[in-house]
Symmetry: C2
Subunit: 125 residues, 2 copies
């Protein structure tokens, strides 16, 4: 089994900058439910989002434009909301834009090893 150190070294956790907007509504860490988290991660697009945030984040959080998906914005909005409501990501509103990052510490605390599986996932060819 891969060690936590392996997960941590693959995952980029960028420091929280000062003066962030409040997070949008989300479950507290103790309210996270495995069935909801797995449901949110049971979709290739949402796995792609979380994996890219884990491995390629260039900033603390990212708007949906950063991902470069060729999809209608309304569909992407739905997926980002599903991830937030399950507790996988935290979203903040910056003016007209929402940006997301992965709740790495909360997920590692409640579901150890799960983010390793997401980081190791590859899309079906």
């Amino acid at each position: 089994m891969p060690s936590t150190a392996g997960t941590a070294s693959a995952t980029k956790v960028l420091p929280e900058p000062p003066g962030l907007p409040e997070p949008l509504p989300e479950p507290a860490v103790e309210e996270l439910r495995l069935e909801a988290v797995l449901g949110a991660l049971s979709d290739p697009l949402r796995l792609t989002i979380v994996r890219k945030l884990l491995l390629e984040s260039e900033q603390f959080d990212h708007s949906c434009g950063w991902f470069g998906f060729d999809r209608p914005k309304s569909s992407l909005t739905h997926h980002f909301k599903a991830l937030r409501e399950a507790g996988v990501t935290r979203q903040r509103q910056y003016g007209l834009e929402r940006r997301s990052h992965v709740r790495v510490d909360d997920l590692n605390a409640r579901f150890p090893g799960l983010l390793y599986l997401v980081a190791a996932w590859t899309p079906e060819v």
Copy 2:
């Protein structure tokens, strides 16, 4: 992070008896897809099924009657099939009855740590 040893000690893997019927159709271990496995596990009833098989199996595999669910048989059949088709469980036909067990080795090989999370899950109160 919990070790594989911790997972193994909680999980009962009973030896395969001789003369078993052939398994029903299922994905091979190398065909298992994380998104499909997580989707199959994103439901409280299916988590209950897998957790009970992991922790309380009394035989190699179990029919749906063993679980004691107060649900229509057709609904249970659907859930057991979803678990098999995602590759979480293996089902065999014994006469009129189907029995399931968890593909512990295959899941540990492909998604290390995932079954630990299932074994540690508890239903919402």
